[in-house]
Every structure is written in C-alpha cells, then in structure tokens.
C-alpha cells in the first residue's frame, strides 16, 4: 500500500482523495494533524509552513509515503531529503469574494467588515475598496463561510480551487478578476511530496506531474523566494503558459502602494528574477 498523508480538514481530505485516486487502487489516506490545524492563531504568527511541517515529519519518520499539500503552503526553500515529485494540472487559481448576500464584491455595502488573515488579500482588497474594514478571520473554508452566514463578517475571500474541490457552489460574480486580486504564488496547485530517495515511488508520482503547471508555479515561487519567501509578504503572482512563452503577472503591496510587474520570457527563472528586481526597486524607492 502507498500511504498518502493529509491534514484532517475537509478540503485537505478532498485534495488527498483526488491524488490517491490518481496514484492507484493501492493508495490509502493517513490523517496527520498539523500545528496550523491545532492553533487558533493567524497562520502568519505560526510561521511559514505551519500546515506542512507535520506532514513532512511524518514522511521523514516513514509513517506516510506521500504527502499532499496545497502548493501555496509549501515553503520555497529546498529540502535535500524531500522532493515535490509531482504538481498535477492546476485548478483555477483565482480568489472568490463570498459575502452574506453572495453578490460578489460589487454588491458589498460601504464600510463593510471583511474577514481575511492574508496580508495579500487585505492589501489588494483595500486598494480596490478603500472603504472596507478588514479584520482577522481564522478557520478552514467551512468555518469561514459559517462566520459570514452568521453575520460575524460581511464577507470573506477564499480560493476558488478550494470551493470547487469541496463541491461547494459559487457564482461567476463572486470570482475576483486577477486585475483586482492576483492569487498567491502556487495557488490552485497541489504539491505531491515524497522522500528524495523513494525512487520507485517517484517514478509513479512523476506521471502525475503537469509540465506547464510546474513551469508556471516555478516562476511564481522563484519570485517569492527572491523577495524573501515569507507568507507575510503581500505578493500576488500568476504565470500563464502559451507554447514555450511564460507570462508572469505579479503585484507587491508595500507601504500603502502596489507595485506591478508584467513580463514574458521562455526562461521561468530569468523571468522571476526580472520581476523581483523590478518589484524590489519600486517598493524600495517608496
């Protein structure tokens, strides 16, 4: 059997089931609880990789053979003993704006209270709607939706991919265009991780890897890494691939302003470096 380690949230389980079904009939799920799940504190106080570390430790201890993560949670630093053996085809990477009336951002009344714990979402939302009040919200997708329904918040922002994987409905009006809200680097993609020395397993997992997704998220994550690789960074980045040309859109919010980059190259790493140079230059000049 191939033991697929996952967090216990409904979304994590849905993602892990998706991966397990693609690995084959011999894959079974093993639920591991992580520091991010146990804590009520905001993710950025727990440090990068709060959701990831416990699964990685389970891989190292040999308790699981494969770990499934949301790629945006996985730190960009290399690990010698673990490898992201596959990044399957990406789901829609955009964010959703979910309000109690479910009418999207346009229908949000002036001065509304929006719950998000992501500095990126908060900064881009404030830029689009300076009137709204942003406050910290914690919990998984269902908890956040419940808090909005209960009136604790007027709205929240969630990854479209998460709702789709959970089979939850949403309207087109709720999708935030990337011109308003660029997703986090790697958002919508899954990381299938295993031990570097598990050569046979890597051969099987490698078949699930999608080259276009891998190249695109590599550019996004290389940019994040160049800029300091922290989840406190209000960075949005989205790469799209057409043939061998990679187009990277990125936006970095700092000191009340937003620096934007749009460029294209065939080399994902060169493109990321260009974006980092440009965004770094603009934000340093402020």
């Amino acid at each position: 059997m191939i033991r697929v380690g996952t967090r216990g949230s409904a979304l994590a389980l849905a993602q892990a089931r998706l991966v397990a079904s693609r690995i084959g009939d011999d894959a079974e799920l093993v639920v591991i609880s992580t520091a991010g799940d146990k804590s009520a504190r905001p993710i950025r106080e727990l440090g990068d990789g709060a959701f990831v570390a416990a699964l990685e430790d389970a891989l190292r201890r040999g308790e699981v053979d494969v770990a499934v993560h949301s790629l945006k949670d996985v730190p960009t630093a290399d690990t010698d003993d673990l490898v992201i053996a596959a990044i399957p085809v990406r789901e829609d990477p955009r964010d959703l704006f979910v309000s109690s009336t479910r009418g999207g951002l346009a229908s949000l009344p002036q001065g509304a209270l929006v719950g998000t714990s992501s500095p990126r979402r908060a900064a881009f939302l404030r830029s689009a709607r300076p009137d709204v009040v942003v406050a910290e919200i914690r919990g998984n997708v269902e908890t956040r939706l419940r808090k909005v329904q209960a009136g604790e918040f007027d709205a929240t922002i969630l990854a479209l991919a998460g709702l789709r994987r959970l089979g939850l409905p949403f309207a087109d009006d709720e999708v935030l265009p990337t011109s308003v809200m660029l997703p986090a680097p790697g958002q919508g993609a899954l990381a299938i991780q295993c031990r570097t020395d598990a050569h046979l397993l890597r051969g099987r997992l490698g078949a699930l890897d999608d080259r276009a997704t891998r190249v695109g998220v590599t550019a996004e994550r290389a940019l994040l890494r160049s800029l300091g690789a922290s989840c406190e960074l209000a960075l949005g980045a989205l790469a799209s691939i057409a043939g061998d040309l990679i187009t990277l859109d990125a936006a970095l919010a700092a000191d009340g302003g937003i620096a934007r980059f749009r460029g294209a190259d065939r080399d994902p790493l060169e493109l990321a470096h260009r974006a980092a140079d440009e965004l770094g230059l603009v934000t340093r000049a402020r």
Partner: protein
C-alpha cells in the same frame, strides 16, 4: 589527422615529430539556455538526468545549480563524471561507453546493485539528442 579542435594534443603530437592536420568534425554551440531552463525546472518529476559529455555538464551547470538537482544524475564516461564532480556533485551512475546498449546495461547493473534505485527509467532528460538510448531504457 585530428578530428577535434584540441590544440594541446596537436602540440604534443607535433613535439613528437608528427605532422598534424586538424579537421574538427564536431562543433559546439551555445545551448538555448531559456529552453534548457524550462526543461530543467521539471527535474523533480524525472527519474534521471543523463549528461553525456563534459560540455553538456558545463551547459547544464550554467543554467542551474547542479548540486541541487533533485534526481539522480547518470553520466557517460569518466571525463564527464570528473567535470560533474568539479561542479560539486557526484555522479549517481557512470556508463563507460556512449552506446545505447552499454549505457542501459550499466544503468541496470548499478540499479540492481543499489536496491534503492529504480531498476527501470520511465522519465529521463537528455540535454543532448540521445533519444535512442531513452527509448531503449524505457523498454
């Protein structure tokens, strides 16, 4: 007649009384670095990176950090292994001759010896056009 551009060897031969005509049959050109990079960032999902010459090692080293390559590296010939070592990475497999049959036999042999290695290669990257070997290995 020297079929490669090797001034050191030509000088050595001339010093020993040979008359040397150099007629290079191989010309090295810079690789398309962007295209190479776009392939090399997918190495984590591959079984092996095959480097077939010291020049190939240098080309890949110019594109990425060879020490951080997340899959085994197989090389053809000791000179290639030595160049790889100079870039800070040891070869995981060394084939003694650049023929498809020899490479495959060598890889399989080492694969069997080291139980943690995959005995067959499903997915490999060959910076040089070495497709016949790839096909043979995939069988």
């Amino acid at each position: 007649m020297l079929t490669r551009d090797d001034p050191d060897l030509a000088a050595l031969l001339m010093a020993r009384g040979f008359s040397v005509v150099t007629l290079p049959c191989v010309r090295l050109e810079p690789v398309d670095r962007a295209a190479l990079r776009a392939v090399l960032v997918t190495l984590a999902a591959r079984d092996v990176l095959v480097l077939t010459s010291p020049a190939g090692v240098d080309a890949v080293a110019d594109a990425i950090d060879l020490r951080a390559v997340p899959c085994p590296i197989a090389v053809v010939g000791r000179a290639t292994a030595k160049r790889l070592h100079a870039h800070g990475r040891a070869a995981d497999h060394i084939a003694s001759a650049p023929t498809a049959r020899r490479w495959r036999a060598s890889f399989r042999c080492q694969a069997v010896r080291s139980s943690s290695r995959a005995p067959t290669v499903r997915s490999a990257i060959f910076p040089r056009r070495f497709a016949r070997v790839a096909l043979e290995c995939a069988r």
